[in-house]
């Protein structure tokens, strides 16, 4: 029931945020209509960051205490993180072509983001290849912790190295979001961010539930064969 409310709320906010961002908000003075991709691109990557942070926390907890619950959390968050990372790259690419002039370029930020997608696609592959539950969980936890370390690199890449990608508009210590983004654009961005967050928690709770059902089914099978 709570999950259904969460899902409905996410849907309502996504429709509101998209209408506001894609129709109501003014076009950007420099980039024109293309800039509207920002309303999807920024929330997508922030949710991907959050997903892999949860993978990191769940993996640490699992290695420490060895509880199935924490591994299920990490595995579930990783799947959603891969989805949102892939979305971020697709949106960024569509944004890059008209503004930068290229769909893709090998600058540090884009390369590290591609590596993030590669690591966590590998994580899902690794887990599906290892038959033994415990081993899959331990290997996954180690890779999940290592993989998360890519995120600070991605975020700082635009400061540490020369990149085509611009510095962050939101997550930065020296400037507030409203110094970079006009309120008429920051509002729909904020709504979309909350909408994506709710969507994330909705998908996460569904995926955790699925993991629990799978675990139960496995236990039942073991019980039957015993």
């Amino acid at each position: 029931m709570a999950r259904r409310i969460l899902g409905t709320l996410a849907l309502i906010l996504i429709v509101t945020g998209l209408y506001w961002g894609l129709v109501e908000a003014p076009p950007d003075a420099r980039q024109g209509e293309t800039q509207r991709i920002m309303y999807l691109h920024i929330p997508s990557i922030l949710v991907a960051y959050l997903s892999f942070f949860i993978v990191f926390v769940g993996s640490c907890l699992y290695l420490w205490k060895g509880e199935r619950r924490d591994d299920n959390l990490a595995h579930s968050a990783a799947e959603i993180g891969v989805l949102f990372t892939a979305l971020t790259i697709v949106e960024g690419s569509i944004w890059g072509k008209p503004t930068w002039g290229v769909w893709w370029t090998w600058d540090a930020r884009l390369t590290l983001t591609a590596i993030l997608l590669l690591i966590f696609t590998g994580y899902l592959l690794l887990r599906s290849l290892i038959e033994d539950q415990r081993r899959a969980a331990v290997s996954g936890a180690i890779l999940g912790i290592i993989g998360f370390l890519d995120i600070p690199l991605i975020h700082m890449s635009v400061y540490w190295w020369r990149t085509l990608h611009q510095p962050p508009s939101i997550l930065r210590p020296d400037k507030a979001p409203w110094d970079n983004i006009d309120p008429a654009m920051l509002w729909p961005l904020g709504i979309n961010f909350v909408a994506f967050l709710l969507l994330f928690f909705y998908l996460l709770s569904l995926r955790i539930h699925l993991g629990e059902v799978e675990e139960q089914a496995r236990r039942d099978r073991l019980h039957d064969t015993a």
Binding site: V23, E24, A25, P26, P27, D28, A29, R30, Q31, G32, E33, T34, Q35, M38, P98, T99, W100, G101, V102, T105, W106, D107, A108, L110, T111, L112, A114, I115, L118, G122, I130, R135, W161, R162, T163, L164, Q166, P167, P168, S169, N180, I181, D182, P183, A184, M185
Partner: protein, 145 residues
């Protein structure tokens, strides 16, 4: 885990690490500045990226031949660039750009790709200014709000 899985895994991880290392080597030095280019003898025909600002007043367009000539500057040195093609919308004088290509024998950079940088700042058109073709449903707010 069986040894063959371990060996297979190590080969995959090793291969990936090598690819990632190679990609990062290139990505870390994404572009050189005209000053850096000047201070080293770059063999012609080496693929390069040069970044900086399009020097104001330097842009010459030959639209019939789709040829653009301009200078890229880092504030100290500047580099002459020739490009045939369609530059991105945001490419203009006084703005950041990264060009990809090779240095000619005559010292002119022949760009095969021109990329424009853009800022992390977003704002609507200033009040009263609403260029044709740009839809706006909400009245524009004063810039810098």
């Amino acid at each position: 885990m069986k040894p063959r899985y371990l060996i297979g895994g190590l080969i995959i991880v090793g291969g990936l690490s090598y690819l990632i290392y190679g990609a990062m080597q290139e990505a870390v030095v994404y572009f050189v500045t005209p000053t850096e280019l000047r201070s080293e003898t770059t063999p012609p025909d080496r693929f390069l990226r040069v970044g900086g600002m399009v020097l104001p007043g330097s842009l010459e367009k030959d639209l019939d031949r789709r040829t653009f000539r301009f200078r890229i500057t880092d504030g100290q040195e500047s580099l002459a660039v020739r490009f045939q093609g369609v530059p991105p919308d945001l490419f203009s004088e006084g703005k950041g750009a990264v060009v990809e290509g090779r240095l000619d024998e005559d010292g002119v950079f022949k760009a095969s790709t021109v990329m424009a940088k853009h800022a992390e700042e977003y704002s609507p058109h200033p009040e009263g200014e609403d260029p044709a073709g740009k839809r706006s449903f909400v009245p524009a707010r004063p810039a810098g709000g």
